[in-house]
Symmetry: D2
Subunit: 142 residues, 4 copies
C-alpha cells in the first residue's frame, strides 16, 4: 500500500522573490500549508473550510515545520509540489512536501500537525484527539 500523493503545479511570482532573485524562505511554508489543505480535500472529499465541522475538530494546527533548501527557485520557474501524509500517529501526523523545478528537487519539507479539538477543561486551549481509522485509510492510494 502506498500513500495518496497530492500534486499541483504553480508559478513562482515576482512577489515571492527576494533581492537575490530567489523565493524568500517563508513563502515555501505558505506553499506547504495550502498543499496540506488540498491533500486533505483530495483524500476526504471535504472542502478545507468544512473540515472542522465535518469531523468535529477545530482544525489541524501545526506544531512543527521544517524545510531543506536544495536548489533555488527563481521568478517565473514552474514548481511542482507533491504532498503526502508520511505517518499517522494517535492524534498527530506528518505531512511531507517535495517541491521540484524542471524535475530536480528544490525544497523538501515537512509539517507535524495535530487532529485538534477544544480542550474541555480550558476552552481557549486545543488538545489532540484520536484520528479516526476511517480518516487514516482515506490517505492510502487505491
Amino acid at each position: 500500500m502506498t500513500n495518496l500523493v497530492y500534486r499541483r503545479q504553480f508559478a513562482i511570482e515576482w512577489g515571492h522573490c527576494d533581492p537575490a532573485g530567489i523565493v524568500f524562505n517563508s513563502r515555501f511554508f505558505e506553499f506547504f500549508d495550502w498543499s496540506a489543505w488540498l491533500l486533505f480535500e483530495a483524500a476526504l472529499g471535504v472542502r478545507p473550510a468544512e473540515l472542522g465541522t465535518t469531523f468535529g475538530i477545530v482544525g489541524i494546527p501545526l506544531v512543527d515545520a521544517k524545510a531543506r533548501f536544495c536548489k533555488p527557485a527563481r521568478f517565473n520557474d514552474v514548481a511542482d509540489i507533491a504532498s503526502e501524509v508520511s505517518e499517522f500517529r494517535r492524534s498527530s501526523f506528518e505531512v511531507k512536501h517535495r517541491i521540484s523545478i524542471d524535475g530536480e528537487l528544490a525544497v523538501e519539507g515537512s509539517e507535524t500537525r495535530v487532529w485538534a479539538a477544544q480542550d474541555p477543561s480550558d476552552p481557549v486551549k486545543l488538545k489532540g484527539i484520536p484520528i479516526p481509522a476511517a480518516v487514516i485509510e482515506r490517505f492510502r492510494a487505491a
Copy 2:
C-alpha cells in the same frame, strides 16, 4: 485644531524586498494597516484587540486603499511613517499615511475604513454605524 499624528519608525527588511531590491508594493499596505491600528490605540487608549468590545463594533474594516509610490524603499532603509485620520464622516473615515526615508517622501497612501457593527437583518454582513462624537474628538491633537 490639528489632527493627532501617530509616528513610528521601522527598518526595511530583506523579506520585504523584491528582485529589484525594493519593497514589494503589497508590503506598504501591511505597514499602513498596522499604523492604522496603532493610531487608534494612541488616540483612544484602547489596545487594538479590544477596540471591538470597547466600542460595540466588530472592527474598522477597509473599503478602499491606495498608495502612490514616489521613491523606492530599499533593504536596510529606515522608514518613518506618519498616520492621521484626515476626515471623519458619519460612519466611515479616511486614514492618511506618509512614509519617508531620509526625510524624503517615499510613499503616500490612504485607507477608507468603516466603523462597523453586525447588520441586525443579516448577521454575516457588516454595516456602518455612526461614529461617536467622543471617539472623533480624541483624534484632535491637544
Copy 3:
C-alpha cells in the same frame, strides 16, 4: 476594438486570510501584481522574466496602486480575476483588475505602471520611456 482581457482563477488560501476570516487587504495587491505580469505574457508572448531584456527596459514598476473592497473574500472561495490595460499613455499605463466571487464583484483595483529604462544621467534611477506602438497594439483583442 476592445482590450485584451487576461483571466485566471485561484483559490483563497488559509494563509491569505486574517482573524476576521477574510482576505487581508495586502494580498489583493499580490494578486494584482501577478495578473499584470501574466497579462503582459499573454499579450506579448514573452515570459515575465524576459520582459526586460526583450524590450530594452528594466521593468514595469508601479507608481500607483489602489483597490476598492466591495464584498469580502473568504477562505476557500474561488476567485476569478480579469485584468486589462485600460489606458496607455506615452510612457505609463493603467492596469485594471476585477476580482469576482460567485459572479459578484468582490474587489476592483488598478495599478499605474511605467515602461521604465535606466536614467542615463543617473544609473540608480529609472525613467519612463515611450511605449512602442507595436507593444500597445498587442493589447487589443482580435
Copy 4:
C-alpha cells in the same frame, strides 16, 4: 564563554494572523530571518546591506529552516525574540531563535546558513567558503 544573543521585541500585527486568530506559521520564518540579519549587524558592526561587500561574500543564504510551535501567538501580543549562532562549522552555521510571549516560550526555531561566495566554476551557483576566525570570535559575548 557564551554566545552573543541578539534580542528585540515586536508586536503581533493583525496581518500576521490567520482565521484562527493566531500567527500564520510562515510569518515566524520572516521574524527569524530579520533577527538573523540584526544579529550579524550587532556582532560585526556592519549593516545587513553591506555584509556582502565587507566580507567578500554574496550573502548568508539559508539551506535549512525549522520551527517548533509551543504556544500560539495572538494579535496584539508582544513577542520577545532572542537569537544566537549556536554553532559555527567550516563554511556554515546554525542560528537559534526563541520567541517568548509573557515570559513563556511560544516558538523555537533554527536556521542553517552558509557563508557563501560565487562558485568560480559556475557564476550562477553559490559555494560555501571558510568563515574567517575573526568573524566567529565576534559572536562570543564579552
